[in-house]
């Protein structure tokens, strides 16, 4: 076993362990952190496969942005853990059976039938980022644009589904506040002094 293989198995074991832990731990914050660990290790695996750009993006985007946001959400929402765990034990045996069946079938297929040659290693001067950059806007401009549209739809959907103007809210519109004049707020009323009787 050379050093590369050692690294591969090292990261793989951590990855699988972290993934299992993520769905079994009780604390949602811990689960999120395990997911972060999963991302890190898979980023490491990608880098070993010479996909260093993707590995770095995974860390930057998912770990740096998405997961941090996710942690905020988890911490801000008061999730009832007890209710979420209901049924976990009840369905555990069936789940395990199916999971084992699935894993064994996949293992069987992959071990017995996938005998693919690894592609030639690119040299040290090969720049993954540059290669991606060259084809992303030329050969893959069409999928790239579609992806952009998907993001646009996601934004539209998110806004359409969450932005509410409830009639009863006491939100303040700063523009209106600034534009206010004396006439709109104060009314001079002439009143006669009252009689004392």
């Amino acid at each position: 076993m050379n050093f590369e293989a050692f690294l591969f198995y090292f990261f793989s074991v951590i990855l699988v362990g972290a993934a299992v832990a993520m769905i079994t731990v009780r604390n949602p914050v811990h689960a999120a952190l395990f997911l972060v660990l999963t991302f890190f290790t898979s980023a490491a695996l990608w880098i070993m496969l010479e996909a260093e750009f993707l590995g770095i993006v995974l860390v930057l985007v998912y770990v740096g942005a998405v997961m941090v946001l996710f942690l905020f959400v988890v911490m801000m929402l008061d999730i009832n853990l007890a209710r979420m765990r209901e049924g976990f034990i009840r369905f555990l045996p069936v789940g395990i059976v199916v999971a084992v069946a699935m894993v064994s079938v996949m293992t069987l297929v992959i071990v017995r039938h996938f005998h693919m040659e690894a592609p030639e290693r690119a040299g040290a001067d090969y720049n993954n980022t540059e290669a991606l950059g060259q084809i992303l806007y030329t050969e893959y401009v069409y999928p790239f644009e579609i992806a952009a549209v998907i993001l646009l739809v996601a934004i539209v959907a998110a806004i359409a589904l969450t932005l509410r103007r409830r009639p009863g809210t006491k939100a303040i519109d700063p523009a209106q506040q600034v534009r206010i004049t004396r006439k709109g707020r104060v009314r001079m009323v002439d009143m006669k002094s009252e009689d004392k009787s």
Binding site: M106, V109, R112, H113, F114, M116, Q134, T138, E139, Y140, V141, Y142, P143, I146, A147, V149, I150, L152, V153, A154, V156, A157, A160, L161, R164
Partner: protein, 480 residues
């Protein structure tokens, strides 16, 4: 490296829809609620314009662009035009429904147009990547539309289920595609097909392994058993106008990606996917027809009916012959027309504060409006496959295709379950004609809706008497 500017001519309809959708998104911000019809009109204009462009650019030869990731051929032209027209009808039917429920908003139409764009991309995709992205674009729009009525808990629940299950299915589809990429070294459908023809020896097991995942993803999108569970809940939970959309046009796109992916790309594996689709078709026919009988909610009933129709569509595809594909295409087009009419009727009978969702709401419709009872009768007959409605020819064409490849048992099975299915369609007819109405209120008088719905219903019988019109289109689109 050299870079050639791709040919933009074939994608002009897509660019037009995208541009208009973005423009409408912006314009809608400045349109007051009372003038929302502007957004509606622009959306309809977009669809009609896209139809005009597609027809103008249509030509019998196959056109590729963007490094062969985009294809425009007879199939794509026919399906795209059908998608525009169906969507235009959907938008038209939706308007009174949305107005009555105070959700008449521009986002509905914008999301609908993005969904249309997604379907167009799917229909014209010739690479795993664009196919998948188109599917996601459509799905994302649909998820958002299901949840569109934010005040309805049932709609939110349906959207959540749809979203999560859809994500699982997309994941499986993507996983299957990535294995295929690993084996064949290409995302391009043509290259994958060529690779499989020349050198697939000894790779059967991994290919079928990948194929299984792909099939699951596709079956989910179409709603074939056992990947159908979302269908009743989403159809039931979503606002009827959205159900109308989900139940019609996306089936056309679904058929397109099956044609591209399974027939064009994985054609050499026909023997394997034929078996898989047979299982799905048999289950869909059985579950769809049998469970529909027990439904009292007509939206749920139509959902199960959809599942059984998907079984028929799959039968046409699994035959693996040109006749079979043409029959499946014909069936899907017919299904979209008929389903639009069926959901349109539900919208017609609904009004502010009242959803005509239950079968009982159709009771005695004949006394309230003999004409629309007749239209509903035509639609139900067509779904049941009673001649001379077009549904009969659709079923006949599929059965012929299946018999031609010597799968007579499957044809017999399908006929038996069609008869079972006829029960609940005819029950709806019986309720309309022989029961006393519980609700005597007159039907709403929206002229455009009434006219289009009438045309929609009559189309069912006109195409039934002249099936050659549509059949020649379908056959023409398939014979590449």
């Amino acid at each position: 490296m050299t870079f050639e500017i791709p040919d933009f001519m074939p994608v002009i309809p897509e660019l037009f829809v995208l541009g208009m959708a973005c423009a409408i998104l912006v314009i809608d911000l400045f349109v007051p609620q009372a003038r929302r019809d502007i957004t509606y009109g622009l959306s309809q204009f977009t669809l009609i314009g896209a139809a005009v462009l597609t027809i103008a650019l249509a030509s019998p030869e196959t056109r590729f662009t963007f490094n062969d990731t985009f294809i425009a051929d007879g199939l794509s032209d026919l399906l795209k035009v059908a998608v525009y027209l169906i969507t235009a009808v959907v938008f038209l039917y939706s308007r009174p429904y949305l107005q009555d429920r105070d959700i008449y908003k521009g986002e509905y139409y914008v999301l609908g147009l993005f969904g249309v764009l997604g379907m167009m991309i799917m229909i014209s995709s010739y690479s795993f990547l664009t196919l998948y992205l188109g599917l996601e674009l459509l799905s994302l729009s649909l998820y958002a539309m299901v949840a569109f009525n934010r005040d309805s808990a049932r709609a939110s629940e349906a959207a959540m289920k749809y979203f999560i299950l859809g994500a699982i299915a997309s994941g499986m589809l993507l996983y299957g595609m990535s294995i295929l990429y690993g084996i064949t070294g290409s995302l391009d459908i043509k290259e994958v097909s060529d690779y499989l023809i020349t050198s697939s020896a000894g790779l059967n097991v991994p290919l079928v392994f990948a194929l299984s995942f792909v099939i699951v993803g596709l079956a989910f999108k179409l709603g074939a058993v056992p990947f159908h569970m979302w269908v009743p809940d989403v159809y039931h939970g979503a606002p009827t106008s959205v159900t109308l959309f989900i139940g019609t046009a996306p089936k056309l796109a679904g058929l397109a990606i099956i044609m591209r992916l399974l027939v064009d790309g994985l054609g050499p594996l026909h023997h394997d996917w034929q078996g898989m689709l047979t299982i799905l078709a048999v289950l869909s026919l059985a579950v769809g027809n049998v469970v529909a009988i027990a439904q009292t909610n007509i939206k749920r009933m139509l959902a199960y009916s959809t599942i059984s129709h998907v079984g028929f569509i799959l039968m046409g595809i699994l035959a693996g012959t040109h006749e079979g594909y043409a029959a499946a295409l014909f069936y899907t087009l017919v299904y979209a027309i008929v389903a639009a009419g069926g959901f349109g009727m539900i919208i017609l009978l609904s009004r502010r504060g009242f959803e005509a969702e239950n079968l009982d709401d159709f009771r005695g419709l004949n006394e309230r409006s003999p004409w629309f009872a007749f239209i509903m009768l035509l639609i139900m007959f067509s779904m049941a496959g009673v001649p001379p409605t077009v549904g009969f020819y659709a079923k006949l064409a599929v059965l012929q295709a299946v018999v031609q490849v010597d799968m007579i048992w499957l044809a017999i099975f399908a006929v038996i379950f069609s008869i079972v299915g006829a029960f609940y369609y005819l029950r709806a007819v019986k309720i309309m004609y022989f029961d006393k109405p519980e609700d005597e209120s007159p039907l709403p008088k929206a002229l455009d809706m009434n006219v289009v719905l009438s045309i929609n219903g009559l189309l069912v019988i006109v195409l039934g008497i002249f099936p050659g019109l549509l059949m020649s289109l379908a056959t023409g689109a398939i014979s590449w």
